[in-house]
């Protein structure tokens, strides 16, 4: 079992915004927990609270149901379940937080994948009375597959098991052992809490003298979400900026987002997939000149030479020891998101970075059985299935393995007939 310092080393530097995904089975208390975090960090406004108090009365709840703060759509309020991902925002003096509240049901796995895709950390709720269930394992697996940097097991409803230390320790151990055995393990920290009463959420608890870790909020405030793996820089070029006339008539810049590494003025770069070498002459971020850019920054890059660069190209640092793969054959873990199944030979649109093209499914290697974690051979993937596939693309992509650099190793598939987003895919290998 990891201690809190494994994922939240005390540090003095500035911590960026923390993105959180919450997961758990229905009724584990996920909505209540988020409502509690919003309420206790004074994020809830009086008019929202009074609307919730009114609604609680109408739906016949005894206590004020903080879960109503987050269940936004009418159908969800009526059925009392969370169907879709909802986003919540709160901030303390130390950090800003973005929460993706994701649904618990198995049939909404795709929404769990979407919620976890941008998350630094997953909070997996466990009802202390029921212990670890299949959903717990499913959510932990999805969270690690999508690349969260840590899992917080919120052992909730401790008030209903008399704050039993043994029960808590068993649950914590079981999740930790499970995650250790996954293909991409991450540190796991468990916290005994009561979302309903507030124990160990924002403030500590007098009911858990045996627990010496921090309350949930403190852990999140210190969670280290720096990128784990260093790769060279990759700028996904979105657009060529050419003012055509006026003061900036000779200006030519490449607008794009830095999807990996850092980039500095003077760096030698290669324009991929063409393979042309040049140097960074200037960088602009939000209209201001900068010397160095970091991952996620929206840039305009000026190059020293007049070279041919177009939307879809990637600027890669030349001295990178971890050069990206360039190729048309991609293997990937995939989450299937539409009713029509994925079959061998089927054709889709793909989008990787700012590049779009056609993708043909060459092979389906297996489906992940989320209950047993077995890899089951299959010739198709259905809605909410997770599996591993090989794709042939109509044009080369400049990509990383997802585990090395998530920003450069992700793509989506789009249904040609309906235009809906059909899959989220995480690259495991790239070949010519």
């Amino acid at each position: 079992m990891s201690t809190a310092t494994a994922i939240a080393p005390r540090r003095t530097g500035q911590l960026g915004t923390l993105r959180i995904a919450t997961a758990g089975s229905v009724d584990d208390g996920k909505s209540t927990l988020i409502g509690r975090l919003l309420h206790d960090t004074k994020t809830v406004f009086e008019d929202q609270l009074s609307a919730v108090v009114k609604a609680s009365r109408r739906y016949g709840d005894g206590e004020t149901n903080l879960a109503l703060l987050t269940d936004g759509l009418r159908a969800e309020r009526e059925q009392g379940i969370t169907i879709d991902v909802a986003h919540r925002y709160f901030a303390t003096t130390r950090r800003s937080f973005i929460v993706a509240d994701t649904p618990g049901h198995a049939q909404y796995t795709r929404n769990m994948v979407t919620g976890a895709s941008t998350a630094d950390v997953a909070i997996v709720l466990v009802d202390a009375r029921h212990g670890v269930v299949e959903q717990t394992r499913r959510h932990a697996f999805i969270a690690t597959l999508l690349g969260v940097k840590g899992i917080v097991v919120a052992v909730n409803k401790m008030d209903l098991i008399d704050w039993d230390e043994n029960e808590f320790t068993n649950i914590a151990k079981e999740v930790d052992e499970y995650v250790r055995a996954l293909p991409t393990p991450v540190p796991v920290v468990a916290i005994p809490l009561s979302a309903l009463l507030g124990d160990n959420v924002v403030d500590g608890s007098t009911h858990t003298p045996w627990y010496d870790g921090p309350p949930l909020l403190e852990l999140l405030e210190e969670f280290d979400n720096q990128p784990r793996v260093e790769v060279g820089s990759r700028v996904h070029v979105q657009r060529v900026i050419r003012p055509q006339g006026g003061e900036f008539a000779d200006f030519r810049g490449y607008a794009g987002v830095l999807a990996g590494g850092s980039l500095a003025v003077g760096d030698a770069v290669i324009v991929q997939p063409a393979g042309i070498r040049t140097t960074v002459a200037a960088l602009h971020r939000a209209g201001k000149p900068v010397e160095v850019a970091e991952i996620g920054h929206a840039l305009v890059v000026e190059l020293a030479d007049t070279v041919d660069v177009a939307r879809g190209d990637v600027l890669v640092t030349a001295d990178s020891t971890t050069a990206p793969g360039v190729g048309e054959t991609v293997e990937a873990d995939i989450c299937w998101m539409i009713d029509q199944p994925l079959t061998v030979g089927s054709r889709w649109w793909f989008k990787h970075g700012s590049r779009t093209g056609r993708a043909t499914v060459v092979a389906i290697d297996h489906r992940h059985d989320l209950a047993t974690l077995d890899r089951a051979p299959t010739d198709q993937l259905g809605l909410n299935d997770l599996g591993h596939v090989r794709l042939h693309l109509s044009e080369p992509v400049v990509a990383d393995r997802y585990v090395d650099n998530p920003d450069g190793g992700r793509l989506i598939l789009i249904d040609e007939a309906t235009n809906t987003t059909a899959a989220a895919a995480m690259v495991t290998s790239i070949a010519p």
């Binding site: 500035q14 911590l15 960026g16 915004t17 406004f45 009086e46 008019d47 609307a51 609604a55 987050t70 269940d71 936004g72 759509l73 009418r74 159908a75 169907i83 879709d84 986003h87 919540r88 925002y89 901030a91 130390r94 800003s96 994948v113 979407t114 895709s117 941008t118 979105q238 657009r239 900026i241 050419r242 003012p243 055509q244 900036f248 200006f251 607008a255 794009g256 987002v257 200037a282 602009h284 971020r285 939000a286 209209g287 201001k288 000149p289 996620g296 920054h297 929206a298 305009v300 000026e302 989450c335 998101m337 649109w349 989008k351 998530p406 989506i412 235009n419 809906t420 987003t421 989220a424």
Partner: protein, 326 residues
């Protein structure tokens, strides 16, 4: 080459910005704001690249002012590659129209005005009558008609997820069918925020680059980039009437009801919408820093405090959004 690409109307961080950005909390806030700014600019560029004929919805309110400022930054030093559109209810604050026209003249963007009055005159919509009539809901028809008329395939809006429960579920790129309807149960998944902008003819997209911003983030951006706003966002004296706990401006479209007594109050606006249903709040905040302090301490949401139309029912926003509202 240390060219400053900030658009006209901004002069970089003001001298006293360190007062607000000097503490640890403020440093965190500015890190957060930087990330939100990167995200919004990336979204704007991506939609502009994937869509043939986008438009940016510009009401003259603070969210759309920030949105337009970000859009200008996204393409600077080139011009904005798409027009902006004002859906004009005819129930305007004079200060807002004045501001809109100045902003447009200063930045050189192309302005399209879609008029709710014209929709009423042509019989497309029927106006409610009575002292509480609002043109807010009618805007949806005018907006959809203008989108069809100009063949816009994407409309940037300043909507934020923190504004309302239904908005909290909205995607960054939100699909609208041929009737302009939003179906919250059939939304395209948006893993990693990778944007899928594919649509068929007659359908369109709404793009919300400010999805992850809160009211405080908006004001921090306004302070950092010195974004000019309509003067009614800052404290001033105005003749108002109190109705349902809200202060409505007298002298415009608001019709006095029996027993209502107008009085002068020191107020400012937290949102700017249809003048018939947008309330002012009592405030002495006369600078952007005053406003930031006030917003940080606020205990009521901006819509709850200022929009009569959203407090009517728990699902008011969801219902209007399904019909094609912003």
């Amino acid at each position: 080459m240390s060219t400053d690409l900030e658009p006209a109307g901004s002069r970089g961080a003001p001298a006293d910005s360190r007062g607000a950005l000097g503490t640890t909390a403020a440093a965190q806030a500015s890190l957060h704001l930087g990330a939100l700014t990167d995200e919004a600019i990336t979204i704007i560029r991506e939609v502009a690249a994937e869509c043939e004929n986008p438009v940016l919805l510009f009401s003259g309110g603070k969210d759309s002012a920030v949105l337009l400022h970000l859009a200008l930054l996204a393409f600077a030093p080139a011009r904005l590659p798409f027009p902006v559109m004002h859906v004009d209810t005819g129930h305007n604050f004079a200060e807002v129209i004045d501001y809109r026209d100045r902003f447009v003249a200063q930045t050189g963007v192309r302005l399209v005005v879609a008029s709710v009055q014209a929709s009423i005159d042509s019989g497309r919509v029927v106006e409610d009558t009575g002292p509480r009539a609002s043109r807010n809901r009618l805007q949806s028809v005018t907006l959809l008609d203008a989108i069809a008329e100009h063949g816009f395939d994407a409309a940037f809006g300043g909507g934020r997820r923190d504004e309302d429960k239904a908005r909290a579920k909205e995607r960054i790129l939100s699909f609208r069918d041929r009737q302009g309807r939003w179906d919250p149960r059939q939304q395209r998944p948006e893993p990693w925020g990778v944007l899928n902008a594919r649509i068929r003819k007659g359908e369109h997209l709404r793009a919300f680059p400010l999805s992850n911003w809160t009211e405080v983030d908006i004001w921090n951006y306004i302070a950092l980039h010195e974004v000019e706003l309509p003067t009614i966002y800052y404290s001033h004296t105005r003749t108002v009437v109190e109705r349902d706990g809200m202060l409505l401006s007298v002298g415009g479209p608001v019709v006095l009801e029996p027993g209502e007594e107008p009085f002068d109050a020191v107020v400012r606006y937290r949102t700017v919408g249809d003048a018939s249903c947008t309330g002012a709040v009592e405030s002495t905040a006369s600078t952007v820093w005053d406003v930031i302090a006030e917003v940080a301490a606020a205990r009521i949401t901006e819509r709850g405090a200022t929009r009569a139309d959203d407090t009517f029912s728990e699902s008011a926003m969801e219902d209007r959004k399904r019909e094609g509202y912003f």
